[in-house]
């Protein structure tokens, strides 16, 4: 077995170009006491020493259950939350020390699509204004060009230009998510964080949005971090997948390898827990017992050990490092 520190090693799929994003030793702790600056807080370790890269044009899926820190990772990369420590290289520049003004050109290149398409659209603005605002903020498509650009964006996400005069409540959930996507695309970003972008949608509509994101990704050569709790959706859209548990990375692998030969016991259990739409494939017993521990008081050593079927005393003593088991395939487990 080769020991590699993924902060410096090539953790991206070999086919991808140079990394657009390079996240090194990212930590985000939330203070338990009020008034303690995030830099020196001791509290919930929402994200604890997370390192990975995303290649240009690559879609990386980030999965985990409640308390895994997946949402915090996404928001911290976009600097919507300040990291406690670590580095976030975007196209070779570390974003962490940048002040508001220096950050602005990068904000234009990085966008987010939220889970709740209704809660994230201002109900008092029509669709034209919602998308126009994003353009205006970054001084794009001024004057008479703006309406044309908005119409173009609506067409790109499968809506019609005349929809720009309507308000969010006049649309279905799937259509609202299309508006959210159009708004994110308005500033021609290079990188998009999708934070559970399809989990609030009906099954039949969810597939439409997954396909749309997949289309846009290849058409606009977007780089994407796709955050979701639904392993099946992530499988469908990702080139590589990162599995998190209680603030730490358990496994990183190319998508096919992760689903066909997972190397971490948590990934195995997660996959075995998903109910399969086939009555002939019924499970007999839940693969994991017990609850996810509170992130306020995570287990020592390997954070998964309290629910792990193969844990030993040793697992309580050391935090397992991410080790490479195959090209681009990393796992943090001393028992495998």
């Amino acid at each position: 077995m080769i020991h590699v520190d993924p902060a410096t090693a090539e953790t991206r799929a070999p086919t991808m170009g140079k990394p657009l994003l390079d996240i090194r030793n990212l930590r985000r702790y939330f203070p338990l006491q009020r008034g303690v600056p995030p830099g020196r807080a001791i509290g919930v370790k929402a994200v604890d020493d997370v390192s990975f890269t995303i290649g240009t044009g690559e879609v990386v899926g980030l999965v985990g259950e409640s308390g895994s820190g997946k949402t915090t990772v996404g928001r911290t990369i976009l600097r919507l939350k300040q990291p406690t420590s670590g580095e976030i290289f975007f196209d070779g520049v570390d974003l962490v020390p940048l002040e508001t003004a220096a950050m602005r050109p990068y904000r234009k290149q990085m966008q987010i699509i939220f889970q709740d398409p209704y809660g994230s659209l201002n109900p008092r603005m029509n669709v034209g204004r919602i998308i126009g605002e994003a353009l205006g903020t970054h001084g794009l498509a001024p004057g008479s060009a703006r309406a044309d650009r908005i119409g173009e964006l609506l067409l790109a996400v499968g809506l019609r230009p005349e929809h720009m005069r309507r308000y969010p409540h006049e649309f279905s959930g799937g259509q609202r998510q299309r508006i959210g996507i159009a708004r994110a695309l308005a500033v021609e970003p290079r990188f998009i964080v999708g934070d559970e972008p399809v989990s609030a949608l009906d099954v039949s509509v969810q597939a439409q949005i997954v396909n749309l994101l997949d289309d846009l990704r290849s058409r606009l050569s977007l780089t994407m971090l796709f955050i979701a709790h639904d392993l099946a959706v992530v499988k469908h859209i990702s080139d590589r997948v990162i599995v998190m548990y209680l603030g730490r990375i358990m496994e990183i692998a190319p998508v096919d390898a992760l689903y066909s030969s997972p190397r971490h016991p948590y990934t195995e259990a997660l996959l075995a827990s998903v109910p399969v739409p086939d009555p002939r494939a019924r499970r007999n017993r839940a693969p994991l017992q017990g609850d996810i521990p509170s992130p306020m008081n995570p287990p020592s050593g390997c954070v998964f050990r309290t629910r792990c079927p193969i844990a030993t005393d040793e697992c309580a003593k050391v935090v397992p490092p991410l080790e490479q088991v195959a090209p681009g395939h990393f796992k943090a487990c001393i028992r495998r």
């Binding site: 597939a207 396909n211 499988k235 827990s273 109910p275 739409p277 002939r280 693969p287 994991l288």
Partner: protein, 335 residues
């Protein structure tokens, strides 16, 4: 599956709501039955009427603008819709119990969970306080909560989501119901916890012998839990079959579309890399098509589908489908 005695019989149920924009026909002539010991899955997307159906059975539609339900709901021979409120209160939470998606909002935050379970027991069974408290602890133990006596003194906010869902199940089962209505009971839970709760429900069903009406949008959960399945769309049943028939040879294009659009962890997925989808959206409840409600989204639609609502037909062996084209679809699949 224990076949035979019908426990619940829903016959041509109609629930309509008066709104400012017009009458919403949330449930528009739904019929099904559940046998003793059976699990009936009801699957549908938003606006299908699946949750309103369960609220009508529990007589919990309240003053939300619902007009008096039409049709009949018979439970163990009794007519639930014709009952007085006090009679219904003796059944609700006792012979018929319900669990919901959100355990936090259905538990009282200011009482300990033990007290809440004991209260249900005392309401329906002549037990003194001590005996009811003991029963509460037994129930917490039954649903797999460690240290049940200590946990009984906890408030809901002191528990995790999975633990709260176990408490709600304990409360629902405290009076040994004959029918448990479970409306998206695991939708808000993480998958590893969902697997535990589904295990628990199956085990308790074997132990207590109750019937379950399991409502969900998740076809994976349906495949795992149900004996028979009713598929609802726009307020009506569009297909009903045993779980094996429904997943192996669905007949209604909507069911087929749903099964195709679910991404799966266990298979390679379509070679094109694209998920199959159902085009369009669920129809607006105020402006449903005249004919088949699925016609605007259906690849098999023909003229008759636009003009006339198909009836729910028995295609043999209790496999029911509401579709003008099912015969052609069967022939196409066979050929």
């Amino acid at each position: 599956m224990i076949a035979g005695n019908v426990l619940l019989d829903v016959d041509d149920l109609k629930v309509h709501f008066r709104t400012d924009e017009g009458v919403v026909r949330a449930v528009d002539g739904v019929s099904f039955h559940i046998d003793e010991g059976e699990t009936l899955g009801v699957v549908g997307e938003s606006g299908s009427g699946k949750s309103v159906t369960s609220l009508a059975i529990m007589r919990l539609l309240g003053t939300s603008g619902a007009m008096a339900p039409g049709g009949a709901i018979r439970f163990g021979g009794m007519d639930l819709l014709g009952m007085s409120d006090p009679e219904m209160r003796r059944i609700r939470g006792n012979a018929i119990a319900m669990i919901y998606q959100e355990p936090m909002s259905s538990l009282n935050p200011v009482h300990t969970v033990g007290r809440q379970i004991a209260e249900v027991v005392r309401l329906h069974q002549r037990l003194d306080r001590k005996a009811a408290d003991r029963r509460a602890v037994e129930m917490l133990e039954l649903v797999g909560i460690p240290e049940p006596a200590r946990r009984a003194r906890n408030y809901p906010h002191e528990m995790s989501g999975g633990m709260r869902q176990r408490v709600m199940i304990a409360m629902a089962l405290a009076c040994k119901p004959r029918l448990l209505i479970a409306d998206e009971p695991t939708t808000a839970l993480d998958v590893t916890i969902q697997a535990q709760i589904l295990d628990l429900m199956r085990q308790l069903q074997r132990d207590i012998g109750m019937s379950i009406l399991f409502i969900t949008h998740d076809l994976g959960v349906i495949a795992e839990m149900a004996d028979r399945v009713v598929v609802m769309y726009a307020g009506r049943t569009v297909e009903e079959a045993t779980v094996d028939d429904l997943f192996v040879k669905p007949l209604m294009p909507y069911t087929m579309g749903l099964l195709d659009s679910v991404p799966r962890v266990d298979t390679a997925g379509p070679a094109s890399g694209k998920l199959r989808t159902i085009p369009g959206n669920v129809p607006n409840a105020l402006m449903r098509p005249l004919g088949c409600a699925f016609e605007p989204r259906c690849g098999y639609a023909m003229d008759a589908c636009r003009r006339q609502m198909p009836v729910l037909e028995d295609t043999g062996g209790g496999h029911m489908v509401r579709c003008h084209r099912w015969g052609d679809i069967v022939r196409k699949e066979a050929g």
